[in-house]
Symmetry: C2
Subunit: 500 residues, 2 copies
């Protein structure tokens, strides 16, 4: 006789299979699908969402949750056993999802799929007007989604909670205020200082870039038998189940960091997916639900490691060899860390990056609360770019059209990027104290112990713990801005040769 | 208020979406998936099959079929209206599928997915023993599947019916007897005759092959915005819905026909998928169910067109230009049509090809009826290769391990390849009488009118008609071997310069 817990696990395993099927459909849409396939793809994704949602929110799921909980109480299962953590995680999701009508869930999936194709065309053709109806549709559906709930303080919180569970916008606003207060003086302090970036601009043949990236990813833990690397307009990572991790990057022949750091970033995400404990396969616990924690992994590998002084020492000689131009480690370190206010978030330096996120966080709240009409969004965007970064946006592709997220109905997602930076700062501080010779290892190109540390502390747990629980376990404290700001100060002091 | 017919259509549309999702998962498994992804992929496919099967065989489907039929009778819908044809098609499938337990359907899907990965490794390593358990598993499941039915004369018929509805093995045996009787003397007649094949062997850089194939596919109707061409071990075509047709081929640097004719073959399949009437989108009517009819399209384009004298006149000068070696049209025509008994079915000439199929048809019946143990299969295979083609198989990769089908649980599928040749013979005969200057058009590289004719007569109908109904409409007769044999005689007379 199978127990209630076993039945619950089996039911959820099938839902994970459906989630992974949708994951492949999404990956394919961005990497392989011919353009005319978009219409059917949207229907397929809508149907998968409809069926998944229906099965998940069914009373049977609730009955199994109750049954499993009672059973676990009877048998005295530990509160931190995987079965208990599963019930805790899934009950919370179930309570939230069951308030959402299936048709609405399917409509959101369909609109997100159609929106992404429309966005890709609009961005390429720099045509904001063409994108307006898709964004309006996604916002309308997001507002209907928000209206399904009563237990959130602010409309935005219902959305944010899907990407960073249990975090509220008031707390984000507080953290972002602290972040902004730290970043603005840093930017001002280095504004007038000079730092040459020439060594990363020029002509970098894609084939040689691929070789460099290939070597770097191998060091990080990319496994040819279980991973793929492809090209996309907007890089992303997909965990399609154990043994199938797919990352993408964007090659730019004239700017070396785009492909290299895009790949390191996504490989950081991929290591999280690949590092989840085997016993969590086909379980919701095997699917990391905090995107802030996820982003901490990508940012740590991209910035703390990849843009760090030690790894620049590994990269520089290979760049010299592969591209036939002399690059010194220090020169590379200064080039890839120079603070330059710029239009495109994904190309921003680590310091100004945070302001790109604050801008989006503010605009998203206005949009979802219907306090900013979509048609006025470009002006609002451009005004903030002027205020925060001193830049005048003239092309929507460099402004409001640059990110895929709003087209994909991912509203409330952006804050997790800045949260990821903060968490990465905390983890980086911690790992340096636990592995004293980490810098030496990285300088030797050895990244295995760092990967293992992250695997042990973070990756293997999947979604067992909430962000604050995991932070308490790993860094013995709450989510904090301080370590990230101190990390930036130290780095910039090195880059610019001044005390900050 | 929605009618019963509308409700039926909507229910079936969602099932089509699930079928297309599984189609993408399969395509990806053969083209993109990293090897370690196979285990999860099998689970995902099993879950999709489980859910699809459950939803399809549900009593609700039967209720809607009854309701739609009654409604159509009341409103006097024509028997050949799409709604009536839908009910007819789906009722038959429903009556068959509902006899199959959902768990069995899911087990078959899982085993098929695992089997394909195991086969790919076994074939590469020429390791028959490693493949035995997977084939035994697929046969065991196939026998359990067959045991679900009482209304078939022979066990094999239940399987064959999935690929060529309503055709029975007794009829296939009769047709294949006639085919064999026609092929054997043809092979004997040309055995001693000489024909040079040198011009298609040598060194053909893949990049130039891609350009040639690209040009040829463009002429056929390949649309970059709605199609993909990729590389696989075992070429196939996938219709993933309107606007998303994916074909594959296999490049061989030393043998030009492999990539070229593989691509033309699959493009023939692709044209069928792309040519289905838009109003049949997301309907089971939009999914061709006769694989014999499907194969007739691929074989017609590959052989009647691609290996025809007229098109060889188009190909030869481009081969000369692209590969820098002088090739005459007549020389190419003789080379790509030479009859040479060979080990590999997909590389066989048009004449010996039929015997490869007869061999498989006979062995499959023995296997499914448990009259041939899997362990004795290689000997049985090799003995027939000796008898039918005079060849001694020494490597299982050139023998029993060469095809993907049995690994993918596609037992009963092979006969449709030879049926496809027969039907192609009939269609070719017909189109020549309806388009008298067809050869001149092809010689000029103009393939549009042929494509339109096939589109009008065959493609647009999807699964509206059964094979015999469609043949009656298009060639005013039943399935026949004669036209194919006469086509071969004519061609071989030209190739060898003798009367046959």
């Amino acid at each position: 006789m199978t127990t209630q817990t076993q039945q619950l696990r089996e039911r959820l395993a099938e839902l994970e299979d459906l989630r992974l099927a949708a994951g492949l459909l999404n990956w394919d849409q961005h990497t392989m699908m011919p353009p005319k396939g978009g219409e059917q793809r949207a229907e397929t994704l809508a149907t998968l969402e409809k069926i998944s949602h229906d099965r998940f929110v069914a009373a049977e799921t609730g009955r199994l949750l109750d049954g499993a909980a009672a059973e676990q109480e009877r048998t005295g299962a530990a509160a931190d056993s995987d079965d208990a953590l599963l019930v805790r995680l899934v009950r919370r999701r179930w309570e939230k999802s069951r308030r959402v009508p299936t048709e609405l869930a399917a409509d959101i999936a369909r609109a997100a799929s159609l929106g992404q194709d429309a966005w890709a065309v609009a961005r390429r053709e720099r045509d904001w007007e063409a994108f307006v109806p898709y964004l309006e549709r996604n916002l309308e559906l997001a507002r209907r989604y928000v209206a399904c709930f009563e237990n959130f303080d602010a409309p935005y919180d219902a959305l944010l909670d899907d990407y960073e569970p249990e975090l509220e916008s008031a707390e984000v606003a507080r953290l972002f205020g602290e972040l902004k207060d730290g970043l603005v003086p840093l930017i001002a302090a280095v504004r007038e200082l000079d730092s040459d970036r020439e060594c990363v601009f020029g002509s970098f043949p894609i084939e040689a870039q691929r070789r460099l990236v290939d070597e770097v990813l191998q060091r990080m833990g990319f496994d040819r038998a279980g991973w793929r690397l492809d090209e996309t307009v907007h890089p992303f990572a997909s965990g399609l189940g154990r043994g199938d991790v797919r990352i993408t990057t964007r090659w730019d022949e004239s700017y070396l960091p785009a492909g290299l750091y895009g790949a390191m970033h996504e490989c950081g995400h991929g290591l999280y997916e690949a590092g989840i404990a085997p016993e969590l396969q086909r379980s919701p616990l095997g699917h990391p639900e905090s995107l802030g924690m996820h982003e901490s992994q990508s940012r740590l590998w991209e910035n703390m490691v990849g843009r760090g002084r030690a790894f620049c020492g590994v990269l520089a000689p290979r760049i010299t060899e592969l591209f036939g131009r002399e690059v010194e480690a220090e020169e590379l370190f200064r080039a890839v860390n120079r603070v330059v206010p710029s239009f495109i978030r994904v190309e921003a330096d680590e310091v100004t990056y945070g302001l790109h996120i604050v801008l989006r966080f503010e605009l998203e709240q206005l949009l979802i609360e219907d306090r900013l009409p979509v048609r006025e969004l470009p002006d609002a965007w451009n005004a903030r770019m002027h205020d925060y970064l001193g830049l005048e946006v003239t092309d929507p592709a460099d402004g409001v059209l640059q990110d895929v997220h709003w087209s994909a109905a991912l509203i409330g997602y952006f804050p997790t990027y800045a949260l990821g930076n903060m968490i990465a700062g905390q983890l980086w501080h911690q790992v340096q104290s636990e592995i004293p010779d980490l810098e030496l290892q990285i300088a030797a190109g050895e990244l295995g112990q760092l990967r293992d540390w992250l695997g042990e502390k973070v990756h293997r747990h999947g979604s067992r713990f909430r962000t604050r629980e995991l932070l308490a376990r790993v860094v013995s404290g709450p989510l904090e801005v301080g370590p990230f700001l101190r990390y930036l100060e130290t780095k910039l002091s090195g880059v610019y040769g001044v005390a900050l």
